[in-house]
C-alpha cells in the first residue's frame, strides 16, 4: 500500500499577502461554476469533518437541484471529544472560511451562507461577527450577491450531525432527520443546502488559490492533501498540527508520543482505538482509519476501562433520545461494563454487549448511535482484561 512519511504542512494557517481570501473570491468567480466543480473533484478533496464525502460531488449535486433558494452552511459545531482544530481556524483565519463559503455559494447558486458555531465557543462570537461584517461589505463592493450570517448552538453534540443542525437552525430540538432526502436536495428550510466542515471550506478556498495540482501532490490515492490534527492526551507537545495524509501511525507516535504510548484513539470518542501492536500497519487516511482530526494518546498508566467508561457516559448524555437503539443501547453498554467490572455479570457478557453495538450500527438513525460500536469493539477487543479486572 502507498505510504507517506510524517510531514508537517502549512496550508490552512498560511497567509498569502498577494492573494488574500477576498482576492481568491474575486479571482475564482471569473471561472464558470462547472470549472470550479471540476477543480474540486480533480483535487480529490474529501470532507474533513469525519464522514469524508467528496466535496466536489456534494457541490455538483446541489448545483444540479432546481431551486430559487439554496443555502451554504459552515458546520462549526465542533464537539467530538479530542477535537479543537476548528476553534483555532475560526480564531486565526476565519476569512478563508468565508471565502470558501462564498465560492460554494457562487457554484451552487446560493445567496445566503450561515455559520453555525457551537455554544461552547460563544466567547469568539463578537470578533467573528465583526470579521463577517467586514467581509460582507467587501462582497457587496465586489457586487457579489452573497452574504454570511452567524448562528450559534447551545451545547448539544448531536447538532454537529448535519440534519440535526438544520433542525436546530429552524428553532427545533436537534433531532437528526431520516435520510434520504440528503441535504443537497432538502436541507435547511427544506431547500437544497451544502453543509461543509470549517476545515473543508478552508481547503476549498486554498485549492482555488493554488490550483488543484499542488493539493493533489500531497497524500495518497485515496486520501489527497493534508489535514489538521488535534493532538492531546499523554504527549509532551499537545496542540494543533497540519500533516500530510497517508502516514503510518508508527511515525505519528514517534513524533508525538511520550515514549510509553499504549494506545491511540483516532477520531475522537466515535473513532477507533488502536493498540501499540497495530501502530506499524495502521495508515491515517481514508484507506486506513479516517479521522475528523482527533488524536488522543494514552500511555501505560491509563486504564482503558476508564477511557471506555468516559466515552459511554458521553454518548449516554449526548444521545438525542429519539431512536431506541441509541437511547437504550448507550445506557445498557454503560451499565453493562460497570456490571462486568463489579463481577455482577460474567466476562462473556461483553460479547452480548458487542452484539448490541452491531445492532446499533444497523438500527440507529444517525451517526451518533451507529458509531458507538467503533470505540466499544476496538477497546473491548484489544484491552479485554482491563475491562474485566
Amino acid at each position: 500500500m502507498e505510504q507517506k512519511q510524517l510531514k508537517k504542512i502549512d496550508i490552512i494557517f498560511g497567509w498569502d499577502d498577494k492573494c488574500t481570501p477576498i482576492q481568491v473570491v474575486e479571482k475564482t468567480i471569473k471561472k464558470t461554476p462547472e470549472n470550479i466543480i471540476l477543480d474540486m473533484i480533480d483535487s480529490g478533496l474529501k470532507g474533513r469533518g469525519g464522514a469524508g464525502f467528496p466535496t466536489g460531488l456534494k457541490w455538483k449535486f446541489c448545483r444540479n437541484e432546481d431551486s430559487d433558494t439554496k443555502y451554504v452552511i459552515c458546520n462549526a459545531d465542533e464537539g467530538e471529544p479530542g477535537t479543537f482544530k476548528d476553534r483555532e481556524i475560526l480564531d486565526r483565519v476565519p476569512e478563508k472560511i468565508f471565502a470558501g463559503m462564498t465560492i460554494c455559494g457562487f457554484v451552487i447558486g446560493a445567496r445566503e451562507g450561515y455559520m453555525y458555531v457551537r455554544g461552547e465557543y460563544n466567547f469568539m462570537l463578537k470578533a467573528l461577527d465583526k470579521k463577517i461584517e467586514l467581509f460582507n461589505k467587501q462582497l457587496r463592493d465586489l457586487k457579489v450577491d452573497f452574504q454570511i450570517y452567524l448562528r450559534s448552538g447551545s451545547g448539544a453534540y448531536v447538532c454537529g450531525e448535519e440534519s440535526a443542525l438544520f433542525e436546530s437552525m429552524e428553532g427545533k430540538r436537534g433531532e437528526p432527520r431520516n435520510k434520504p432526502p440528503y441535504p443537497t436536495v432538502a436541507g435547511y428550510n427544506n431547500k437544497p443546502t451544502v453543509i461543509n466542515n470549517v476545515e473543508t471550506l478552508v481547503y476549498t478556498s486554498e485549492i482555488c488559490r493554488m490550483g488543484p495540482e499542488q493539493f493533489k501532490a500531497l497524500g495518497t490515492k485515496d486520501s489527497r492533501g493534508s489535514k489538521v490534527f488535534s493532538v492531546s492526551g499523554d504527549t509532551p507537545i499537545a496542540g494543533i498540527y497540519e500533516l500530510e495524509l497517508g502516514m503510518p501511525l508508527k511515525d505519528f507516535v514517534e513524533e508525538f508520543g511520550d515514549g510509553d504510548t499504549k494506545a491511540i484513539q483516532v477520531g475522537g470518542a466515535s473513532g477507533h482505538c488502536v493498540p501499540r501492536k497495530k501502530f506499524n500497519d495502521t495508515i491515517i487516511g481514508f484507506e486506513g482509519i479516517p479521522t475528523g482530526g482527533s488524536m488522543m494518546i494514552f500511555n501505560s498508566s491509563r486504564s482503558m476501562y476508564n477511557v471506555l467508561h468516559d466515552y459511554l457516559e458521553f454518548f449516554t448524555e449526548e444521545s438525542c433520545g429519539q431512536c431506541t437503539p441509541c437511547r437504550i443501547g448507550c445506557q445498557q453498554l454503560l451499565k453493562g461494563i460497570e456490571a462486568v467490572k463489579k463481577g455482577e455479570r460474567p466476562p462473556t457478557y461483553l460479547d452480548d454487549l458487542k452484539r448490541l453495538t452491531s445492532t446499533m450500527k444497523i438500527a440507529a438513525k444517525c451517526g451518533l448511535g451507529q458509531s458507538v460500536a467503533n470505540p466499544f469493539t476496538s477497546i473491548v477487543d484489544n484491552f479485554r482484561e482491563e475491562i474485566i479486572y
Binding site: 465542533e78 464537539g79 467530538e80 471529544p81 479530542g82 477535537t83 479543537f84 476548528d86 476553534r87 457551537r118 455554544g119 461552547e120 465557543y121 460563544n122 466567547f123 448562528r151 450559534s152 448552538g153 447551545s154 451545547g155 448539544a156 453534540y157 436546530s168 437552525m169 429552524e170 428553532g171 427545533k172 430540538r173 436537534g174 433531532e175 428550510n189 488535534s230 493532538v231 492531546s232 492526551g233 499523554d234 499537545a238 496542540g239 494543533i240 470518542a269 482527533s294 488522543m296 491509563r302 476508564n306 477511557v307 468516559d310 466515552y311 458521553f314 448524555e317 449526548e318 438525542c320
Partner: protein, 156 residues
C-alpha cells in the same frame, strides 16, 4: 410589561417573528437571565405565535438553555476524557469545597451555579473551566479558586 417581556419583544424585533428565530431569541434571554423561566417561555411563545409546549420542547433539548433557576455566574468544568486525565476531579472538588455546593447546585447567595460539561474543545490545555462565556484553560485547583474569587467580587 415586565423586564423579561420587554427583552423578549426586543429580541423578536431583532431576529424576526419566525420559528427560525427561536434559538437566537432563547439564547438572548439566557444571556441576560441565565435561565428560561416559565414566564419567559410563555412570553416567547406569545411573541413568536408558537405553542408554549413547542418552546419548552426546544429549550429543554439544549444543555445551555437551562429551564431551572441558575446563579449569576455559571461554572462549567469539562469532564471529558482529556480533562479527566489532566485532573478535572481535583478542580471540581476544590470548587465544591470552596463554594460549599455539589455539582448541579447553586450557592446560597445565588452568585454561582456549579455544573460539569462535555468536551469544551480545549483538550490540549486541560483541565478547562468555562465561566459564563469566558474560558479558563490549564486550571489548577488554586488558580480556579482565585478566578472564582475575582468573579465573586465583581458580582453583586
Amino acid at each position: 410589561m415586565t423586564n423579561t417581556e420587554v427583552l423578549i419583544h426586543e429580541l423578536v424585533e431583532k431576529h424576526g417573528k419566525t420559528r427560525n428565530a427561536l434559538m437566537p431569541v432563547l439564547q438572548g434571554v439566557v444571556a441576560r437571565e441565565k435561565f428560561l423561566s416559565e414566564e419567559a417561555m410563555i412570553a416567547v411563545a406569545r411573541e413568536l405565535d408558537l405553542s408554549a409546549a413547542d418552546v419548552y420542547g426546544t429549550a429543554s433539548f439544549y444543555t445551555f438553555l437551562d429551564t431551572k433557576p441558575r446563579g449569576k455566574n455559571i461554572l462549567r468544568v469539562c469532564k471529558t476524557i482529556s480533562c479527566h486525565m489532566q485532573g478535572k476531579d481535583a478542580i471540581i472538588r476544590a470548587i465544591e469545597d470552596h463554594l460549599m455546593v455539589k455539582v448541579g447546585e447553586t450557592t446560597h447567595d445565588k452568585k454561582f451555579t456549579l455544573l460539569t460539561a462535555n468536551c469544551l474543545g480545549w483538550c490540549h490545555k486541560g483541565p478547562v473551566l468555562l465561566i459564563n462565556d469566558e474560558v479558563f484553560p490549564s486550571m489548577t485547583p488554586e488558580k480556579a479558586i482565585e478566578i472564582i474569587e475575582d468573579f465573586s467580587k465583581k458580582t453583586n
